[in-house]
Every structure is written in C-alpha cells, then in structure tokens.
Symmetry: C2
Subunit: 278 residues, 2 copies
C-alpha cells in the first residue's frame, strides 16, 4: 500500500530484458537494480512528481543465483532511499529469460502533472543532467575496454537529476521528458504529442572533454552521443519564453510551429537514438 | 495518472510468461488479456479494495502479430470496464520470450486494507467463487480435449468475485487472499503470515457434479482440484467467529492455534497447488 496524500498517483512501468537492456557480464546485480529503479524513478520525476515507491516483478531462470536477486533488490533500495521512496513488493516467477518489470509511483504534491503534450510555439527548450555519457560508456564496453571509468559508470548507473523534475514543474514547465531513448528521439516524442516543431542549437550543447577524448579514441563523433545516446535519464523540458529556467537548466533551443525536431536548421540524420524495437 | 480519492493506493504486480502461465494455442489473445487483468484485479479485491486501473508492460518477440497484442489489450479493457477500472498505459519492449507484466491499482474507500496476517484463533474460514474449475479445464486441455466447455472456459477466463473483496472488508474480514496457487496453498500463506493454524473441513466443500464427472473421465480425484487447483481466483477470508459472513460466502473451516493448514485433521498430502517455481 502506498500513501497518496495528493489524492492522485503518477505511475509508470518498464520492462528490462537480460541481454537487451542490461548484460550481467557488464553490470553487477546492484548496478542493474539501481539502473532499473533509476529509469522508472526518472520517468516519475519527468512528470513533475516526487517518487514514492516501486514494485518489482521478476521472471527468473532457474540457474540464477539467489544472491544475484538479493543484490538486485539492494540496488533498487539504494536508488530509492535518498529520494524517500520505498520498494513496496513484487512478484517472482520462472522464465527462460531474465526479465525485470519495474513500476514506479510518484506524488504530485498538489501540482498539475507535466505531460509531453504541453509545449507551445515560443517556449524555450532546456535540459539538465548528463547527455551521451551512458552511450559513450556502452561504446567503450562494446569495444572490450573498461575505462574511462566515469563513462562506464555512467552506463552502469545513471544519475538522473530527480529533484529537477518537480522543480521544473514549479518553474512552469509546459512539457517534460526524461532522456531514455536519446535527446532528439525523446524531444521528438514531445514535438509529436504537442504538435509543434522543436529547433535545437548544437552550439549550446556542451560536449565535455572526456566525451571528446573517448570519441576520438573510438572514432565516434561525440555530438552523436549527446544527441542520440540514451540511458542517461537527463531531463528535457519546455518552458514559456518569458520564464527561462535558471541553472542547472540549460537552454538549448526553442519551440516553433511545425512538427518534429530540427537540429541546427536541418533534420537530424544521426543514429536516431535507442529504438525499443531494434 | 490515477485518482486516489482515499489518499492511499493499493498496488500489486504479476508477470505472465508465455508457455508457462498461458499457451497461445490454448487461449485467444483476448482470453490471455482478460486472465492477466483478472489475476491482478482479484489480488486488489483480496485486499478489500476496489480496482481502479492497470498498467501493462509487454516484452514481445519480433514475430508476434500486432493483432494479437491489440486483442490482448482489448481483453484487458473488457475485464476492467465492468469494474470501472481503466488500462492506464504501459511499456513495450522486445524479447525472445513473450512476457506480460501487469500492475493493478485499487482504492480502499476509507477502509483499512485487509492483509494476510490478521487471522486470529477463533476466526472462521470462508470462501466465495469457484474452486477447481480452472484446474479441471487445464487437465482437460492437457489431455487434448476441448470440453466440457464450462471447465475449459474457466481455465481461459477466470471469473473472480471481485465485489466480494470490498464486501468482506466491510463485513470485518481479518485476513483475505485470492486463490491463485490453490486453496490450501493460499491459506497456508495466511496461516504463516498470521502465525496461526487453519483447519479445513472438506465435508463443507461442495464438489460440483461437473467437476466430479470430469474427474471420473480423467481418473482424477476432483477434491484435489478443489483443494489444490489454482487460477480460479476465488476469494478466501477469515472472519471473527461471531461475525460469520452471509452468502455467497461459505464457511469451510476455522482458525486455531498452531501454524499451517490442516485438512480434515491431517496435513494435506495433495498436489500442493501451483508452485511458482516448478
């Protein structure tokens, strides 16, 4: 049972499939638990709500060690605790493939929920959190490396800026999303839901030196990680043009008439972000 | 977003794995949807709450027809509608194995939630709904038959007595559970959680003529289906001895000191109900 002092509950659910959304040889059980919790808690925060709890459904192959599952639950609890959220319970069943089903809940504290459909021409587009780090970490692991540690850690354990979700709602955000598929792909969801155009200006998107270094080492354009890399769970939001959000929010574009995302005045031809059906 | 007029929300989650919890050659997509919804909605009812909504997570193999998924969602909506509950949304991802993750929500309407841990010596044990029908239907299908239709239908599409959950709470139920694993197995959960003994009297458990007929045809003792058959999602509850519940509740035993379920004075040696880890 979950307290819902607001009289409304925000709820979101996600499935994570072994070998597809995580790899047990690349991440510890604790990391997988933290990540599974984080992506759902970030989704709650992106609605402007404060995360309150999680339910965990587990489909478990018979050969999986109980210790792995205990560490997974520990990871989820560790991610919840600083937010004041709780792991409420769940279900365990057997399956040939390990699947995690996480449902997260949040409280709106009296505010209206922020959706994807509220962006209006004249709004500014801003983000806060990391962009491209998890994707760079995944690329590093995919080439058989284990460093730079900060990138690999970002892949294993995202650090969503949870508190900025409710704050953005207070600041008057008109639409918000957490960056799970990639900045362009997730803003595309906002553009479609809001029936607007979104114009990004990459000169406003800082590419950290570390990301540039890894890009150089792997022969990848680091801006593609920033624009198309998912799994960092940064928050991206639109705000009325006369209410530009303060730091750590960073304005990176504007909302216009049209439909869809335009990067530096052109359609973005890049990797396209994480496709749930690839 | 979900209304929570009570200021609290009851939430429960379950995973259903293709080939384990359902078979696509034995059940239509609509039936699977209804059943997936029913087992979670029944769990909500067993807490004394009125179901308000569902979230659906889907891990889908690439070769599964979109029409199958649409019918699944139709089935879930059909199960929700008469209860005033809604399918709120969900998540779709790819997997080699079809997995459904259903999370259900309920409203307590100001009542205390009924748990598994409140049974006290002196209470009576009662149930309402079907027992053994789904198990008999599964046995019929397992032998390659398609009739009796009523048993097969009971396997494909349970009919939990949803309204009796909140009613039992109003009647003062001290503990409640929906029968998903089997009557003895689920009452065992109550006995363990409540630290009591539960004494069942099978002479009070009616075995319908149809169940006896199918048992005779398949060479199965039908009382085993009644005691150990899961998936009908009947409700079993304990009530204070001086507040015996009215029909359709049927008193079938009593709560005593001790720990665990005793059937007709002895430990139940039967099939043991549905084991989630078999």
């Amino acid at each position: 049972m979950l307290a819902a002092p607001d009289g409304r509950v925000v709820a979101t659910t996600d499935l994570l499939v072994d070998g597809r959304h995580f790899r047990r040889d690349w991440s510890t059980a604790t990391d997988v638990g933290r990540k599974a919790a984080a992506q759902n808690l970030a989704d709650v925060a992106a609605m402007g709500a404060v995360p309150t709890g999680l339910l965990l459904g587990l489909a478990v192959p018979p050969d999986l060690a109980v210790a792995w599952l205990e560490e997974l639950a520990d990871g989820m609890r560790a991610e919840c605790e600083p937010l004041g959220a709780r792991v409420l319970g769940g279900d365990v069943t057997r399956s040939d493939v390990l699947v995690l089903a996480v449902t997260a809940f949040g409280d709106l504290q009296g505010r209206a929920p922020v959706t994807r459909s509220g962006a209006r021409p004249g709004d500014v587009v801003a983000y806060t959190g990391r962009l491209g780090w998890a994707a760079a970490g995944l690329a590093v692991l995919g080439r058989g490396f284990r460093s730079p540690v900060s990138m690999v850690a970002a892949h294993r354990r995202p650090e969503p800026p949870y508190a900025q979700g409710p704050r953005a709602a207070e600041l008057g955000a008109t639409a918000m999303v957490d960056v799970s598929d990639g900045l362009v792909a997730d803003l595309q969801h906002v553009a479609v839901a809001s029936e607007v155009g979104i114009e990004l200006d990459t000169s406003r998107l800082e590419v950290p030196a570390k990301l540039r270094d890894v890009g150089k080492a792997l022969g990848v354009e680091p801006m593609d990680w920033v624009l198309a890399g998912g799994d960092d769970h940064a928050l991206a939001a639109t705000f009325p043009g006369d209410r530009r959000p303060p730091a750590p929010w960073k304005v990176i574009g504007r909302v216009a008439r049209g439909r869809g995302v335009v990067v530096d005045g052109a359609a973005y031809p890049g990797p396209g972000g994480w496709d749930h059906f690839r």
